[in-house]
């Protein structure tokens, strides 16, 4: 006799069956979106179908909030989730947590394959990374001429470092024509010799960003003579361009910021700093000169001839005094000598003999002294000198 189940019990058994199957608890399902419904609760309900089957799906509010894709009926998508039972309706369904456009899974596989290959070649090695100049004069940009990414980057550069010259090498950034155009853009920018090349694109799906995973583009970035900054997609997007670039920026705007590490404000501060140093150094120099002047003045005063003149004057006085005293001494000596001579002269004075009664007789004619008889002749006129005068006489007889 077969056992009779209640509906609940049977449903529970089916649920257990489904939930114990690991493959059904972590599954990707591809199909076309239909019966899309987003009630106020925030949960998303839809049906995935293909030509012969349909699958009810629900995505809870928390997962729905993380959706980057905007869902439309008719869209081919891949949905990830687990299979479960909605017991009140007796219905199995997919509890979805991720939805991506069809093809992304295959793209992801290709991404991983290329990444591994290029990594093995050493294209992503940290020692290949070149430093990005801090103060570029010329920045090359590879992006779409019409995208918001270009506008964002130009605005950022304009705000941060308007001294810079930008050279754009415009290129489509998605579609099959994008990779060869991007390669050509990188190569022609290299011939313009900018200091930095930014390769950038705004956000999009993995498929949209796919050109930046193209092997040709990755190799062109690796071959660039000029350091490359990549700014592709959003913070969470990683492309092979990001791995091969010398510097990875999360967004185009961030790439423009990383390309201008020194900004207008820094330059203005630098000029101001030079100006301050200029003023300080000239003031120091003037102060130094003043000091030097005052010490020279002191030295000059010390070396002034005034002191020498005084000492010379003193020496002169000294000499004058010595001259005077030696002269005086000499005069005294001379006058003593004169006195002595006078005494001796006095002693020899014949007049002194006369006073004792002697007389001096001279010839009247020639004044010669007659000291012997033979000198006298009769009748001769003579002069006789005595102590108080003289008188004439005549020789009478011999």
């Amino acid at each position: 006799m077969p056992l009779t189940f209640t509906v609940s019990k049977l449903t529970f058994l089916i649920r257990k069956l489904l939930e114990e199957n690991e493959a059904l608890q972590d599954v990707w399902v591809q199909g076309e979106l239909s019966n899309l419904s987003r009630p106020a609760s925030g949960h998303v309900y839809f049906t995935l179908k293909d030509s012969s089957a349909a699958l009810k799906c629900v995505m809870w509010k928390t997962s729905a909030a993380r959706l980057t894709l905007s869902l439309r009926d008719g869209m081919e998508v891949e949905v990830h989730g687990r299979i479960g039972i909605y017991e009140p309706a007796g219905q199995y369904q997919l509890y979805a947590d991720q939805i991506r456009p069809v093809g992304e899974g295959a793209l992801y596989q290709e991404f991983m394959r290329l990444k591994a290959m290029l990594e093995a070649e050493g294209l992503f090695d940290p020692q290949r990374k070149r430093p990005v100049p801090e103060f570029p004069k010329k920045i090359g940009i590879v992006t779409s001429a019409t995208g918001a990414a270009l506008r964002d980057m130009l605005n950022t550069l304009r705000r941060r470092l308007p001294l810079v010259e930008v050279i754009l090498a415009a290129s489509p950034v998605q579609g099959t024509e994008a990779p060869p155009a991007l390669v050509k853009a990188i190569q022609s920018l290299n011939r313009q010799r900018p200091d930095i090349i930014i390769i950038a694109r705004g956000g999009g799906s993995m498929e949209d960003l796919w050109a930046f995973n193209d092997e040709r583009v990755v190799r062109a970035v690796a071959a660039s003579q000029v350091p490359v900054i990549s700014g592709v997609g959003h913070e969470t997007d990683f492309t092979l361009c990001d791995f091969v670039a010398d510097l990875r920026a999360p967004t185009p705007t961030a790439a423009a910021e990383l390309a201008t590490q020194i900004t207008l404000l820094d330059l203005q501060a630098e000029v101001q700093n030079y100006q301050n140093r200029l003023v300080t150094s000239i003031l120091n120099l003037i102060a130094e000169q003043k000091n030097m002047l005052s010490s020279l003045t002191t030295e000059l005063r010390y070396l002034s001839p005034e002191r020498r003149i005084q000492s010379e004057r003193q020496r002169l006085d000294e000499l004058a005094r010595r001259v005077y005293s030696s002269l005086l001494h000499r005069v005294q000596l001379q006058s003593a000598h004169v006195a002595g001579m006078r005494n001796r002269l006095d002693a020899l004075n014949p007049l002194a003999v006369l006073s004792r009664g002697y007389a001096v007789v001279t010839q009247k004619s020639d004044g010669r002294v007659i000291s012997r008889v033979a000198q006298a002749k009769n009748g001769q006129s003579i002069q006789v000198r005595v102590s108080d005068g003289r008188f004439d006489a005549t020789v009478d007889e011999k």
Binding site: K137, A145, T146, R151, L154, L157, R158, P162, L163, V164, E165, V166, I167, L168, A169, A170, A185, S188, L189, R191, Q192, L264, L267, Q268, E270, V271, Y274, Q275, R277, L278, S281, I282, L285, I286, E288, Q289, M292
Partner: protein
């Protein structure tokens, strides 16, 4: 001694690019900071330096982003889309 500056100062300040003006300013500052004596020469350098700093300031103030576009092996002005 500042022989080289003395030679370079011949070019009028108004004709210098930002880089030239800044490089000369930098040189003058280091000369003045190392200088002993020569007040008259130093004051000339100082005045030149002031003019260079002013030139740099004006150039920074007036700087406008130049955007060109690659065209073959040359670059031509690029017209940005206005919003």
């Amino acid at each position: 001694m500042p022989k080289s500056t003395a030679k370079k100062t011949e070019k009028p300040v108004e004709e210098l690019s930002y880089e030239e003006a800044l490089a000369e300013l930098e040189n003058i500052v280091s000369v003045l900071e190392g200088e002993q004596g020569q007040l008259e020469e130093a004051i000339k350098l100082f005045e030149r330096g002031q003019a260079l700093a002013a030139r740099c300031g004006v150039l920074l103030e007036a700087a406008e982003l130049k955007v060109k576009q690659v065209a073959g092996d040359t670059a031509v002005p690029f017209e940005e889309e206005s919003e």
